[in-house]
Amino acid sequence: MNITEFPRISRREAIQWVIAAGASAALMPSQAFAADASAAAPSGKPYGTDPLLNHTYHPGELWPLTLGPDQRGTVVALCDLIIPADDRSPSASAVGVPDFIDEWISAPYAQQAADRAVVLDGLKWIDAESGRRFGRPFAGLDATQQTRIADDIAWLPKAKPEHQSAATFFALFRNLVTTGFYTTPAGMKDIGFIGNVALAKFPDPPKEALAKLGLS
């Protein structure tokens, strides 16, 4: 998922609520790593132009998933590195975000196919890097070791030349984890979205919020 994706997903540019405008778009080449044969094309069928909307879909229901056990282990570790459990909410892997990422990279659409290549190659890179530095795959590292690798690739503009591809992968992965987590009930509650419930009256905002903004 490219963060310029948002303009595509809502009515024109902003029926929903916020866009990630072009600031970071330039940081996201479509191909982070050199092409790799590991990313075989997904085999599923698109859901078509008239899908059933009133239905709860689960990853794997519409197209076959991709991740093997080792890849999944790395995905879980990365998910929880980016969104760990804290006193407000569970970790990303506890609410099914790895399943969403698998669904995403397995989808039969061009954008997702491009992301698939970046993610699968990124997973391979991060395990190789973990092995090179610490002799174990990423999921087997302790928190300090994971952080040492992550800090090298967490912010593309500051990444060294040899880490540009990995940082591009990490930015994409963080966006996927963010989308995956904050669209779950636990993520919505964490962030402070308490809508999507029928109300007899649109409630007044708290006085505290108005006071803070000088609107009271």
């Binding site: 994706e5 997903i9 024109r12 669904e103 995956g180 669209t183 109300l199 903004l213 609107l215």
Partner: protein, 617 residues
């Protein structure tokens, strides 16, 4: 049985309506309640918002968190069936900026912003058409908007004044339910007392914008939205709409009373299964069907208006998509309401020895003066809005509670702006339901955070952004039009459209002005722009068609040699043929066209009824 198969239609109808959206739905309502026998033909499938709308579904319940895909361009839950920027089996052709001029290419893009297509065309194939997902923004055109050429010498004047259409705006607002306020602002008409519904309170960031925009002289006022902010009194409204007609009053009142007030949740773009907002399918069609005077055939792709020996419209030919049979139905009157471009296509494809250039086209203007709305937007992140206490600020999901009407009339008239026409500003903000990509800005504003700090940053920044979108007037020009492609046909064997489209400097300069304005509004709140404000309007402006306000392709006017329709949207060349979509528009004011399409359609149908009673048609 109002939904009928092709084999069960009547031998002849008083009126055939092609299309079931804002224009077709309004026409069916007015005519069926007036007692004439109406057939509506819809190219898409039957669609029932009460049963099908995914009201409380979360993105997490959809494939890919409901993200846009080549199958669902505005996201999984958007109320669009078999459509979007492309529609299966129905290609169209357009010039592209990256290809040689005067070559046409099949339109395949499913993302509007940044497309190289000169025109991008949103269609849907479902009962109710685009009214199922539209933005519900309902602004009256003002007195200036009907006489733009008289004011600045550009474009064309409408063949009547605001006062002529005002009573029909009153009717439409009364029937569909529009919230808003009367502000007494220049060229921003007030409605009669007791017509508008109460506007909801602004969202908190809208209040904050209002306070700070005031310092720039920019007014932020309640929006006008076709959403019922409270229950409406069906009997009172129906009595005023249909004086002296007890049957019509009952049908209309029952329809109004079957609708529920907005419950301040769920995105309006999915449609509404409690009928709180205006959709043709929930507002116009139920009472029209209940009258017993309306038959509807769905999956009926109209290709041609047939003409009798007398030169009048005799009916229409359509392809029954279920049987692939060509069907002809007879009607005393034909009303095209298939969308501006689709109605032009039908006319241009209705060729005969008598009308070799297509029907109603002796002026050569069918397909000409194609217009869209100027669009450009910027997002700001506002530190003052960070870390607000948790509260419910969702409101009518995705629909703005406040907007900015055009405010620089005097400066523009004095020639200070460098472009001729105005724009309004639409506001998207508040604590809305997170969706795919909607927190993507965290990447840049947190500069690569992860872990517990990232979660804290997400709580801090959620709800602190505001998106400003300009929607401005385009002036019709000779370089923007649709015509029949000589080679391509759609899956039903019907020749398709091809498009040329060009903005003038008035539009691109306006788009640059939007960006400069939005930047000053965002910075006036102490915020920062996410993204890049453009000084070159060509880099800010949406592509033609991108705002989905296609109007002007069957323009009306006072001169039969220069226009397609007379001031009653009646074809100059064929007196029992009318157009009731955006095609008759002579200009495209910054006021979103749907409300005006409905008002014009109502007026047209009143004229149809009057002429039928007189025996003139």
């Amino acid at each position: 049985m109002p939904f009928v198969a092709s084999s069960k239609t009547r031998p002849e109808y008083d009126v055939i309506i092609v299309g079931s959206g804002a224009g077709g739905g309004t026409s069916a309502y007015v005519l069926a309640l007036s007692g004439v026998k109406v057939l509506m033909l819809e190219a898409g499938r039957n669609y029932d918002p009460v049963k099908e709308t995914p009201m409380f579904q979360t993105p997490g319940q959809a494939p890919l968190r409901a993200a846009s895909t080549p199958d669902k361009h505005f996201g999984f839950h958007d109320a669009t069936v078999d459509g979007g920027w492309t529609s299966p089996g129905e290609p169209y052709m357009t010039r592209r900026s990256d290809k040689p001029a005067d070559t046409f290419h099949e339109a395949k893009d499913h993302v509007a912003f940044g497309t190289k297509q000169e025109w991008i065309w949103w269609r849907t194939r479902m009962l109710g058409g685009r009214t199922n997902h539209w933005g519900r923004i309902s602004l009256r055109m003002g007195p200036y908007d009907f006489k733009p050429r008289s004011r600045d010498g550009l474009g064309l004047d409408w063949p009547f004044t605001y006062e002529e259409l005002a009573p029909y705006y009153d009717k439409v607002e009364s029937l569909v339910g529009v919230w808003g306020t009367n502000e007494g602002l220049e060229n921003t008409p007030d409605s009669p007392n007791n017509t508008l519904l109460p506007a909801p309170r602004p969202r908190v960031p809208e209040m904050y914008l209002k306070k700070h925009a005031a310092k720039l002289g920019i007014p932020v006022i309640p929006s006008h939205m076709a959403i019922m902010s409270r229950k409406m009194n069906g009997a009172r409204i129906a009595k005023a709409l249909h004086p002296g007609d007890a049957n019509a009053q009952k049908l209309s009142a029952d329809g109004i009373n079957a609708r529920q007030a907005c419950f301040w949740a769920t995105p309006c773009g999915r449609g509404c299964n409690i009928k709180a907002n205006y959709q043709s399918t929930t507002v116009n069609l139920p009472p029209a069907l209940a009258s017993g005077n309306l038959d509807i055939v769905t999956d009926a792709m109209v290709r041609e208006v047939s003409v009798g020996a007398d030169g009048k419209a005799a009916g229409v030919h359509y392809v029954d998509k279920k049987t692939r049979q060509d069907v002809h139905v007879k009607g005393r009157i034909v009303i095209l309401a298939a969308s501006g471009c689709e109605s032009a296509r039908i006319l241009l494809n209705s060729r005969s020895a008598r009308f070799p250039d297509g029907l109603a086209n002796s002026s050569g203007k069918v397909g000409r003066y194609l217009m869209d709305t100027v669009g450009a937007g910027l997002t700001g992140q506002i530190p003052a809005l960070e870390n607000l206490p948790v509260f419910n600020d969702e409101g009518a999901g995705g629909s703005m509670h406040s907007y900015v009407p055009w405010w620089l009339y005097k400066e523009q008239l004095a020639g200070k702006l460098g472009f001729a026409r105005g724009y309004h500003i639409e506001i998207s903000t508040g604590r809305q339901m997170p969706g795919a990509g909607s927190l993507g800005f965290l990447d840049s504003v947190t500069q690569g955070a992860y872990g517990k700090r990232y979660k804290e940053e997400a709580r801090r920044y959620y709800g602190s952004t505001i998106h400003l979108a300009g929607r401005g007037e385009m002036i019709p020009n000779d370089d923007s039009f649709c015509e029949i492609d000589p080679d391509r046909k759609d899956a039903w064997g019907i020749p398709v459209l091809r498009f040329k489209f060009k903005w003038s400097d008035h539009e691109t300069k306006q788009a640059a002005h939007m960006h400069a304005t939005f930047r000053s509004m965002i910075e006036g709140m102490g915020g920062r722009v996410l993204g890049t404000p453009q000084t070159d309007g060509n880099k800010a402006i949406y592509p033609g068609g991108g705002i989905i306000h296609e109007v002007g392709t069957t323009c009306m006017g006072a001169d039969p040699k220069a226009t397609v329709l007379n001031p009653f949207c009646q074809a100059w060349d064929v007196k029992n043929l009318f157009v009731a979509d955006g095609g008759p528009f002579v200009s495209n004011a910054d006021k979103n066209p749907t409300l005006s399409i409905m008002a014009l359609a109502w007026r047209t149908c009143d004229h149809v009824m009057a002429e039928m009673k007189k025996g003139n048609i």
